[in-house]
């Protein structure tokens, strides 16, 4: 798939808020939380530092909220990684969640993983699986992950080739199967301590189904068809921003989708959203409540600590979360977060 540039963040927010009469008529997300008695939404701490190491990727997925791809050049520099490590050491962050793009393509990736482990942090890597088959430089990644006890979290929209390729590109399913087998071969999902979790986004304009039921189906099908094992399946709602927003606009389905998200609003899901215990760092070191706010350029609310070099737990731990209409994506139905359903 080739990449068509998406609209600027401010324009995306304008569309979501007042792109049409139907969108303007939707309740504001903050008001919805207020009605449910959970406003302002506050963080409960910074348990997880999610570090987006850049937009460079070997894939160009249809739904990617990062607008990542092989032609992107925005990647985290060594000095920013060092700022992250200082924050991890000083702030007692227990888990570092490394994402991208394809994070493995950042030249400082392996060093950063090892330094995080040296500091005693658990490391999660959002690996797109196809990177494991992208050439000799990446072939030993499964061993590297295992050696560092990295928790691998990988997107696989579906156990069928047609749905996976439709969302992630031609031949992605086949390469993903190869990648999963390579991870299983070094002990992932077959040895205690080596966790391999899958993430499934709906392949279209609908909400994810019951996470436990889908996990059972994925396990049965991947085992019987490919002898693949994994630990847990996380279901994630497609966020109406970036490339998925473009697709919704192009197909004339944006209003229907937003209305669906609003109708499925679940206050219980709001209490479990990831931004409450996670802090997101952009490739340039700027801080956000989540990866989605990062892409929409909505900074964290405390003005004095908006860059990782200024990281301050006292300022960030109970910060008020910055909200906008896209947040309905995380509170629909059973909820959605980087760890799957929230209820």
């Amino acid at each position: 798939m080739s990449r068509t540039p998406v609209q600027p963040a401010a324009e995306q927010l304008r569309i979501l808020n007042q792109g049409s009469a139907r969108l303007s008529a939707l309740p504001r997300f903050g008001d919805k939380l207020r009605d449910a008695g959970v406003h302002p939404l506050r963080a409960t701490g910074v348990d997880i530092l999610q570090v987006n190491v850049g937009k460079l990727c070997n894939q160009t997925c249809q739904h990617c909220h990062v607008d990542a791809g092989p032609t992107r050049r925005e990647i985290m520099e060594r000095s920013t990684f060092e700022d992250c490590l200082r924050a991890i050491a000083a702030g007692g962050v227990r888990t570092v969640d490394i994402t991208g793009g394809a994070p493995e393509m950042n030249p400082h990736f392996r060093w950063f993983v090892e330094e995080c482990r040296r500091l005693g942090a658990q490391v999660m890597v959002r690996c797109n699986l196809t990177i494991l088959t992208a050439g000799p430089a990446y072939r030993d990644l499964p061993e590297f992950f295992a050696r560092n006890q990295v928790e691998v979290i990988s997107s696989l929209p579906h156990y069928s080739q047609s749905w996976t390729d439709r969302q992630r590109g031609d031949h992605v399913f086949e390469k993903s199967v190869t990648g999963l087998r390579a991870l299983n071969a070094v002990g992932y999902a077959r040895t205690p301590g080596l966790k391999l979790n899958l993430v499934s986004n709906p392949v279209g304009v609908f909400l994810p189904g019951d996470q436990a039921g889908l996990e059972r189906d994925f396990k049965r099908e991947l085992k019987s068809q490919f002898d693949i094992d994994f630990n847990s399946l996380y279901t994630i709602t497609n966020m109406p921003i970036s490339r998925f927003l473009e697709a919704l606009l192009k197909s004339g389905k944006l209003e229907d989708y937003l209305e669906k998200l609003v109708q499925a609003f679940n206050p219980q899901a709001a209490l479990g959203v990831m931004c409450r215990n996670t802090l997101s760092v952009g490739w340039d070191g700027l801080l956000f409540d989540c990866d989605f706010n990062q892409m929409l350029e909505i900074p964290v609310t405390p003005v004095g600590t908006r860059h990782i070099r200024d990281f301050s737990r006292s300022a960030l731990d109970h910060r008020e979360i910055a909200l906008d209409q896209h947040c309905y994506g995380c509170t629909a139905g059973a909820g959605s977060s980087c760890g799957g359903a929230t209820v």
Partner: protein, 119 residues
């Protein structure tokens, strides 16, 4: 009305937005409606069959009773539950096989009657 469910004056009998109004059928008998919706909700909970299997059965039945509301609703529901087009089309072929078979098996009755009339 023609086979597409359209009146002679051009308006469709089936309005997609009516699906969202299903709950309004309680207006003239809320007691029976409540019993129906309770029962309906209970039926679709996972049990000996998974929620996905029940949704595929619903889709197959929807094609048998040719209910466009049900076809829209259960195509969405099947996809949310992870059933792709291949699974859904197999379910519809089950409908077709049973419906076709139900006609064809009456051929035995035809042959029996034909035998009776033969000398």
């Amino acid at each position: 009305m023609n086979n597409a469910g359209t009146c002679t004056h051009g308006r469709s009998y089936y309005q997609p937005q009516d699906l969202k109004r299903f709950g309004e059928i309680a207006k003239h008998n809320d007691k029976l409606a409540a019993k129906f919706f309770d029962y309906y909700g209970e039926v679709f909970k996972p049990g000996a069959l998974t929620a996905r299997e029940k949704s595929l059965i619903a889709l197959a039945v929807a094609h048998s009773v040719q209910c466009p509301y049900c076809i829209d609703a259960y195509t969405t529901d099947c996809m949310e539950k992870g059933a792709d087009e291949k699974q859904m089309m197999e379910a519809i072929h089950v409908t077709t096989a049973i419906r076709g078979g139900a006609s064809l098996v009456h051929g035995v009755q035809m042959m029996t009657q034909a035998e009776k009339l033969s000398v």
